[in-house]
Symmetry: C2
Subunit: 429 residues, 2 copies
């Protein structure tokens, strides 16, 4: 196909007419398609239904160490759940605290605690004039919402194919002691599906922050969420690397089983150095009587161990892989060579990132919506919802069925084409 | 029995010798008894084991409104769980948000949010020089821990047989705008088992606080936790009463099923006015992807409705009642008429409160411990762990078996006697 920019005005107008007719036809279908969030499909949820059977009234709800999971007690999580999530998070069980059902909640609590109590003895952030976070962009909207909620100023750092621009990160972190954190989704990142390179992770571990209470918020949301069995991204483990680099306290690592078992009914965890965990436990013992141990036990009895979990994730991959491939295939078939968009081809995670021509993202998403396809809001992948180029669109292929997804992607490609033509035509005038 | 104070020095010394021998005998038994916390017994947990059977892989985990409980979504709780807890909390389902497993966590979050965000638009408390909470004493140690953790100054307000000293509450709240809250356990209070009188509740609802962001923290932890079927305390419902009094926004009401189903694996909730709920939802949508809906559904399928819950609580009562009666019986038999202690006889809840001679509580608890009986730490029922009279001891009869409890109470009474004799002898010198 000829790139749109190389087409004449007349050619574009002709094409526009044709595509508009197709769009009208789509509108007539009365579609209700949702690709807005990284929600597992019903088919994926079905593969975890065995979780509902592992604990019955005939079972003993006692831990290996004799703890009755039904009663109060055990603040940091039962031993066997710590072992399971430690293996998932590639850290030692001693470096883990098991939380409730949402790792987002753990991150929120971590920022909230820093606001009112400081970090390992530092001045509470709410007492400071200015607190900033670095935000690799595009990134995860819910991260940005937390920092915005607490009035923390967000500073954009561009993503590269190997992770955030580390020259910029190193420079900013070293020169500004109001920078207290950076949001990272280091593996199969949200939304691009990028995994940080070894060099990136090493440079993270060797940061020399001006602020002693600077922390890397390492949201390893997709740690075992591969699409392929023999082509998986691998990350240097950040806690160990920070320790080796002499910065053992510089990172909080987050994860959960939300997209392993059931979203909303999984278990979440934080991994950190002993100093950080001691700091966190001071809060935890005030905050709660402990998290849901029965659900922790349910997860352990269902998965048994990390191998069971990995086998389980292969079933997820079998459902996710065709969807990712369908998205890429449609994008290549419909948009390849047109020079009106670029996209990523992740090997795991939940998202594909699409970059359209500058200034077109909002219009494309709106056009999709008018024909019954809900995409993540344009701008959502940037702090304050402001994409400076108005070009990034997050594609979440997991929730729709494959036939719905194919329809949705055809419609999406059509909208990209139509909006791009209008954009180019306007520029030609 | 003759009151100890009326005994001669010689009589007391003789008695002391005899009781010391009994204490030595107790020490020889190598006891390990725990009456420190309000933990349900294993027997109580057993009556909820049916909860493990109501959801299996053959069941549809879909709500009445079509929501798939396994997936993301529904921030404030599924409709049927709201209905169940609304009935438990005696409010409308619209006035409820369902949380995770711990009402303590909800209270913590409520204070934490007020610290960083303020209350319905007020100045965040962390920006104020001074924030105070009123604390009816004796009270619940975990309430006091939350306010202490956030650097909130705690002001003691004495409890009376009808609730907190309302003259003092009214006066303090009206005159000091740094007073932002009051901790209440209005029904079968912790530790005294007192239920607030109608007059007390009415006066609460009619408070005229100097601070617009003053809130009553109404921890209705024992709302359906009666001991007797035909002799139950009843409270005027505080949300409705506040509304009638023209103060609809002045109260947060908390509850959970921790001592209904499983502690740590129950569901918690807050009830409040629409304005407050709107304020809370602003936080909630940032804080979490939602709470555990599968567990909400599990509770609904198990209890079915409030009648099912009430029937279930009768089973708890059948286990708790003999324990409470055994404690009271031993106290009356061993300490009645001696004038060395007073105690409450609650009709529900989890605690009995014991007041010994001033200056003796710490020594009594320490003496119990030396013979293998762990009581709640003396002082714990007061802010900062400081009981100004060193006289209040909380008795938690739920956890031990009845034979263990009888032994524990005999030992406790013995320690009270011994320490009281020492105290009286010291005063006679």
């Amino acid at each position: 196909m000829k790139p749109y920019v190389e087409m004449t005005k007349e050619e574009l107008q002709e094409l526009r007419k044709e595509l508009s007719a197709q769009y009208k036809e789509f509108q007539g279908r009365d579609l209700k398609l949702d690709m807005s969030r990284g929600k597992p499909s019903a088919e994926q949820l079905d593969i975890s239904m065995g979780m509902m059977d592992v604990l019955s009234s005939n079972d003993d709800l006692t831990c290996e160490d004799g703890t009755d999971c039904r009663n109060y007690g055990v603040l940091a999580g039962i031993k066997e759940a710590k072992e399971l999530l430690a293996d998932m998070m590639e850290v030692a069980p001693d470096h883990i605290i098991i939380y409730g059902n949402s790792s987002l909640n753990v991150m929120y609590d971590t920022v909230s605690r820093s606001m009112t109590q400081g970090v390992m003895g530092s001045t509470p952030w709410c007492k400071l004039d200015k607190v900033k976070f670095l935000c690799p962009v595009p990134g995860y909207d819910r991260h940005f919402s937390i920092t915005e909620y607490f009035g923390i100023e967000m500073v954009n750092v561009p993503m590269t194919p190997t992770g955030p621009d580390m020259d910029l990160v190193e420079q900013l972190v070293a020169s500004d002691d109001s920078i207290k954190g950076i949001w990272c989704v280091p593996k199969y990142s949200n939304p691009q599906g990028i995994s940080y390179s070894d060099e990136t992770v090493r440079r993270f571990a060797r940061l020399k922050p001006a602020a002693s209470d600077f922390r890397i918020y390492w949201d390893n949301a997709y740690t075992i969420h591969h699409l392929y069995d023999n082509d998986q991204d691998h990350l240097i483990e950040i806690l160990a690397e920070c320790k080796r680099a002499g910065n053992p306290d510089m990172v909080y690592k987050f994860a959960s089983t939300s997209k392993v078992s059931f979203p909303g009914s999984g278990i979440a965890a934080i991994a950190a150095s002993e100093n950080n965990l001691t700091d966190i436990m001071k809060q935890l013992k005030i905050q709660t009587i402990g998290h849901d141990k029965v659900n922790q036990l349910r997860h352990v009895r269902f998965f048994k161990d990390i191998h069971g979990m990995v086998e389980h994730m292969r079933k997820h991959a079998d459902i996710m892989r065709p969807k990712f491939e369908a998205v890429i295939e449609t994008l290549e078939k419909e948009l390849g060579g047109l020079q009106i968009g670029e996209w990523t081809s992740p090997k795991g995670g939940y998202f594909i990132s699409f970059d359209c021509l500058d200034g077109c993202a909002k219009t494309i998403v709106a056009k999709c919506k008018k024909a019954g396809l809900v995409m993540t809001g344009a701008g959502a992948t940037y702090p304050y919802g402001k994409d400076p180029h108005d070009s990034n669109i997050r594609i979440a292929p997991s929730y729709p069925t494959l036939p719905d997804l194919n329809q949705a992607m055809e419609l999406f490609a059509l909208c990209v084409k139509l909006v791009s033509i209008d954009h180019i035509l306007a520029e030609k005038q």
